[in-house]
Subunit: 248 residues, 8 copies
Amino acid sequence: MNINQILEQVKQGDISINEAEQRLKELPYKDMGFARIDHHRKLRSGFGEVIFCQSKTNDHLLKIYQHFADENLEVLGTRASADQYNYISAQISEIEYDPISRILKLEKANKNHTGLIAVCTGGTTDIPVAEEAAQVAEFFGSQVLRIYDVGVAGIHRLFSKIEEINKANCIIAVAGMEGALPGVLAGMVDKPVIAVPTSIGYGACFNGISALLTMLNSCAEGISVVNIDNGFGAGYLATQINRLATKI
Amino acid sequence: MNINQILEQVKQGDISINEAEQRLKELPYKDMGFARIDHHRKLRSGFGEVIFCQSKTNDHLLKIYQHFADENLEVLGTRASADQYNYISAQISEIEYDPISRILKLEKANKNHTGLIAVCTGGTTDIPVAEEAAQVAEFFGSQVLRIYDVGVAGIHRLFSKIEEINKANCIIAVAGMEGALPGVLAGMVDKPVIAVPTSIGYGACFNGISALLTMLNSCAEGISVVNIDNGFGAGYLATQINRLATKI
Amino acid sequence: MNINQILEQVKQGDISINEAEQRLKELPYKDMGFARIDHHRKLRSGFGEVIFCQSKTNDHLLKIYQHFADENLEVLGTRASADQYNYISAQISEIEYDPISRILKLEKANKNHTGLIAVCTGGTTDIPVAEEAAQVAEFFGSQVLRIYDVGVAGIHRLFSKIEEINKANCIIAVAGMEGALPGVLAGMVDKPVIAVPTSIGYGACFNGISALLTMLNSCAEGISVVNIDNGFGAGYLATQINRLATKI
Amino acid sequence: MNINQILEQVKQGDISINEAEQRLKELPYKDMGFARIDHHRKLRSGFGEVIFCQSKTNDHLLKIYQHFADENLEVLGTRASADQYNYISAQISEIEYDPISRILKLEKANKNHTGLIAVCTGGTTDIPVAEEAAQVAEFFGSQVLRIYDVGVAGIHRLFSKIEEINKANCIIAVAGMEGALPGVLAGMVDKPVIAVPTSIGYGACFNGISALLTMLNSCAEGISVVNIDNGFGAGYLATQINRLATKI
Amino acid sequence: MNINQILEQVKQGDISINEAEQRLKELPYKDMGFARIDHHRKLRSGFGEVIFCQSKTNDHLLKIYQHFADENLEVLGTRASADQYNYISAQISEIEYDPISRILKLEKANKNHTGLIAVCTGGTTDIPVAEEAAQVAEFFGSQVLRIYDVGVAGIHRLFSKIEEINKANCIIAVAGMEGALPGVLAGMVDKPVIAVPTSIGYGACFNGISALLTMLNSCAEGISVVNIDNGFGAGYLATQINRLATKI
Amino acid sequence: MNINQILEQVKQGDISINEAEQRLKELPYKDMGFARIDHHRKLRSGFGEVIFCQSKTNDHLLKIYQHFADENLEVLGTRASADQYNYISAQISEIEYDPISRILKLEKANKNHTGLIAVCTGGTTDIPVAEEAAQVAEFFGSQVLRIYDVGVAGIHRLFSKIEEINKANCIIAVAGMEGALPGVLAGMVDKPVIAVPTSIGYGACFNGISALLTMLNSCAEGISVVNIDNGFGAGYLATQINRLATKI
Amino acid sequence: MNINQILEQVKQGDISINEAEQRLKELPYKDMGFARIDHHRKLRSGFGEVIFCQSKTNDHLLKIYQHFADENLEVLGTRASADQYNYISAQISEIEYDPISRILKLEKANKNHTGLIAVCTGGTTDIPVAEEAAQVAEFFGSQVLRIYDVGVAGIHRLFSKIEEINKANCIIAVAGMEGALPGVLAGMVDKPVIAVPTSIGYGACFNGISALLTMLNSCAEGISVVNIDNGFGAGYLATQINRLATKI
Amino acid sequence: MNINQILEQVKQGDISINEAEQRLKELPYKDMGFARIDHHRKLRSGFGEVIFCQSKTNDHLLKIYQHFADENLEVLGTRASADQYNYISAQISEIEYDPISRILKLEKANKNHTGLIAVCTGGTTDIPVAEEAAQVAEFFGSQVLRIYDVGVAGIHRLFSKIEEINKANCIIAVAGMEGALPGVLAGMVDKPVIAVPTSIGYGACFNGISALLTMLNSCAEGISVVNIDNGFGAGYLATQINRLATKI
């Protein structure tokens, strides 16, 4: 029995108000409209579905993508392998794959991109994580400016780009090893900086812990941190901020 | 010699263009206008000066505040002690101090507060850090909604507040121990969530490391993290986002 | 407007069923009866209120206890200081305090204690944590058997007690330093063992991490672990198990 | 010489009481009946033998299983590989293997399952560990309710299941990354929650440490933790609790 | 009923052999003579009682020492404070206290010291831990050679002592900070080296972890490690080895 | 528009001085001559280009080396694989590769080597890192003295070399496991010692952390540390010091 | 010039005493007889050469073993692979290899074994490390008693062996996971216990750190610890102690 | 008997050459001239004595300083307290103390300072450590340039100083929290940079570990690291390098 039926019975006088109240409280939450909020969130935010591909079997993944292809819906997959792409593209020819960012997606053509997010990296080895962030932001409708290989060990490269970077509504700064780029950037711009530590490096970088700690301890203002190698999270969060800045 | 003087000499023909070019390149950076960017940032962003009081002597701190009082400027100090307040207030009667957030400030009256930032805590012991965040955001002109003591161990308290929280442009979620509040919140709203781990707790919370790791590993989207107990950083960043959402 | 009022309007035909359904979904969660579940839990389980005293001011704590005293209700406070006890007992003479366990409580006389929980410690320095566990279990109605100072460095002391210990429905094993007691115990009994690492020790015990890791890695079956020094958590959980064993 | 023989000699007067007493004290412990306790434990508890397959050679493992097959006894193996299964099933056709939980077993048909244990997971990647727990509990005679993929990032999925979950005598909550599920669950039910951190994740999850710390620091009551990925331990312990609840 | 009584009944024919066998198996372990082994160990080894004074109250400690004083027995206390000494010496005048090693003891005069143990330190700040080791060894009857302040930063000081050190049956090497002394020593002598890391230092010494790791990773042969600052453990173990070398 | 053009316009009176000043400040930094400083650094120091080969594709790497080969310039690559060497040498026959140090380089013949750097290792397994350091130093023009396998576990091997080592301007000490060599060396020479921890070892060496901590905590004077396995960094820094000592 | 030659010149009056004194001080250390001490140590202790095979090439290793084979000397290699054995045995037929302990050796027949060392393990997975210890001890002339799979989770298995174990001069206790065996053993015997943590396990055992910490924190007396998986070190040290006990 | 006496006997024919050779080898090392090397090092390097005051008693410290005062020698003490200064200055009026660096010294007037060392800090809280470094360098004869509070969060402050900084022979960069200053500096100069992490900060700075890791992982060339807060070590090492650059 659902809400509508209970209310109908109340109207018909088939059950008392007390009885109706009791039944309403016993309904599963999803039937009570709670799940609707979640759906509303998806609809309102315009964020399509996201699949974490890494630990999924080819068959399982194919079924998921087939569902979206059949419904003519967009879907974004992260951390997909070339093997997963090959398997799925044999069935779904319109699927797209980028081996750098490892993003596997079904995306509508001629999407509009608004606002601006700057994505910066300290070195060239940070690019895969940066591309995941950038392509996620683009998939969700943000315009992206890429500024790669501007680490603090040769900081003059960064300076010539600062004014361009500061035009963005939000800056994603990706860096491994010492991880100092986000803090330096945050000291030079007046927009939120999302710091992404990467696991690239050797020795006492401890697979990204060094960069993570550097970023958490930054003395600059206007900086926050996501998990090591979490380009997706940074791209998603930057899009939220970019939307706040462009929609209102 | 400054830029103006060099240009004057070029105009007068006192030095060649080549010579002028060389001299320009040798000028200290600040004279070249670089520092101007930094000042522009302060002016444009409307963020006044911030003082980290914790390790400063009473005398040193008094001089700093006296300077702002004399100039009739606002200034915000963080991590101030009651003793510092007593010492300074003897000289500067208009100074204000809040023993919970430990904020010591000179602030103009009748300030306008725009937009909305929600500040939530898991427990009552997280309130000092939350108040630092909230009062920093207010000082910089944001309106703040406080929702305290809504931790996940009694999660029904949180649910009744979700729609109210989601009206904010940005949410600051402060939690210690298990630190699960920000992740749960981020799964229920569609606004950026800034997670602040606190050092409160005992045993394997390791002064906030447990909460920090929980937040970094959140599976929810739209969440980023600042340093343990860094209420100031969260309040500043939330204000940046709130301004992006309200000004444009 | 609450559920009852909405239903009344439906009955009177003042609003349509669709309209009523919409309004029901928009009600705050607590009004929907969700909070009731939580209250039911408290009532059904018979666990009274618990206060974490450690970071509370004397005034704040007094108000809390006064509330329970006025209502003639039981209440259990953990990690209370002697100073807190002195302050409160001046107003509430029937308050009880144990300086070992640091438990501060209002408790009805002649409480019935059922089932059996065994509380064991490796050394004498583990007794404060063990007493917190034991007294929490007793407060919630369990009978408790105390077996202290039976650590594995002199394991023959433990053997003479095994049959007695195994009569309990649940065993709490408290140990610091090497923390081997719970694993040895779990290998000798057929009841759940709740392991509590303590922070007592020096050097590479790292305030309880050593004991915590030992317990997590135990090769014995039927063992689980709570946070370092978390006697309260162990006593509460043991009572839940003891009730399952005795009530049904 | 065993106890019986010594006693016989005492009766016959062949040795003095003092001499007999001395000999008794010198007997190996197992001969003194101590090992009996251990056997009693197995018999009384009804827990059959368990084999940790992971580091065992095919030959060694076959011999173990052949022994149980010959004796017509049940045996449960954990962390078995498909290769181990193939090798053994060529000889023992009645052996059963589940590639998800990696359990390899000889089990009687038509086993009775009593009581109820709920096994919940935060995500789909936690299912292998959850299945190990669930199948271990079933092997030892418990009825199991599986509630998978109800993590806190989409917490409404969990709510619709709470009343069903709370009917269990014990709840196993399996989660990786942030690991918040067990704490949220423990705040909503009144039964013991056994938390199992999993090693799935990336970055600062540190192969399960993040989830482990979250669970140890949970502010909810009635929760304890087993080792990372230790589904077996959780299933065993839950069965002990379930038996206490159903047998008495 | 004890063993003797059971045997008497067997002899008298009051109980059957089967019945006697059953009763014997049910006797508590200590009554079965197991505890005797422990006492035998004390007697055979000649190690008197040891008290860990650190966390004991003055009253509790006084009772312990009074017991040994009354029985005219030796007793050794470690980590005693000057305050504990003052309290106890007011009652037991023959008690001895050394503020460097913090050893508080009752010891017979004219004790014989045999064999030889060398105790070396890297610096002067390691001396308190070294003295604890040395005085424990002396208390238990070993002769001790002290070689202090011979750290590897000025390694020539060590060389002039090597032949003297190598005459010992066992060497205790105490060092903090880099902790290299035991490894260098072990490479130059042919006797067991017991390495004791100390917690003295600053920065990345992490209260002795640095020295502990250095010692565990020593490439030299014939070296083992005890806990940080565990002079007592080193002195006890060295005495065991010294006795093996001198008694047989 | 560049500086020269702006100055020309000032000279011609086409723009005012104020306008020129404004334009100058808005020029990108690199155009302002800042990048020149960086180039000056390279030219002045005589350090050629360095490539970190490890994560680069064969194609990418070939293009880089081809560029330098075409320009007839030197270039040094670190952490190159044999596979990378084979791929590139097929095109660039003059490329040189050393499988021990994994250095891949284009180098002019008959280079002059000045001053002296000593490179020492604790064991033979440290040689790859030491060779990276040594060959980097040689590539940049330093003379190198190799003293390998002189670890502290057999310290007499080191003593016979001390006077020879002390003739160097700078000493690189490479060691894994306990990592004590640099501290012992620094106590015996009066030149800067650059300590390089290596990741070789097992157990509690934690991939070089043990050696790193030992070196940071050395009580000797005149010692500093680079990252684990960072032979390149040590060779570069030693060359800087060697040049300071030889050039002036 | 060596010492002898200098002294000859003094005797002949060819050089003054002052000159001779100066020359003597300038001689390399090894010529001064220092190295003699090291050789004496080898000779006196009777410990033959030991090779750490793990990181050595087949060719390099063959040369080393060929040298010992040619000289008809014993040599012991640790951590050798089956591949290394196959390569070398093709040339040196008398070489012996044990795949469990991974020891590769040339050993004289009919060696005498004296004294007694007990080698115990907690589980069967600890046997490879235990066998390394046992075979090293045997190679150096000790008699070894193996007591495997007597871990504390089934502690009655250990008790029946205690008296036999206590007959040894030294006990090696090998354990992974919780690592409690050495502490329990040390509480039951009066001989030195050398604890060896192993890296076997999963989850929070952290490759042996858990066991290592347990052992360092043992409350029992007479216990010390070697590096994780360091069976060789334990076997060597135990032999030193066994020799002290048997030779004098 | 010393070398001289032995040689005299050889010359007189009182002992044979063989006998003399034997005796020489048996002399303690210091008598053999080894200690001379150490003294030579002190003399040659011109580094006076250094005292670590922190853990020394007032009396002990006074004796040390009195010795140097009586001998009219210089001496430098680090980490001295104001209390130590007061105690000693009552006896030795010429002693000098700086409460910022906590240096307590006897120093000759009109000392010559040569070369140049730059000491930079990220913030004002790093100044105590920087002053220790600077004053140590000055005490040992180096000229020092102080550039404080030029951290990367406001990097333009640093740029105006770069050319001045690069005139130094060696740069000491002191920074806490994120610790990025040394890496940025090393990318802009061509002189050795000695990085000193400081323990100032809060949260995830872990008393300097964050800054330490940042510095070890710096991607810039020409940088090495000393222990957390080790201003003394940096000042000493910088002086060694400065001397190499200025003396030769």
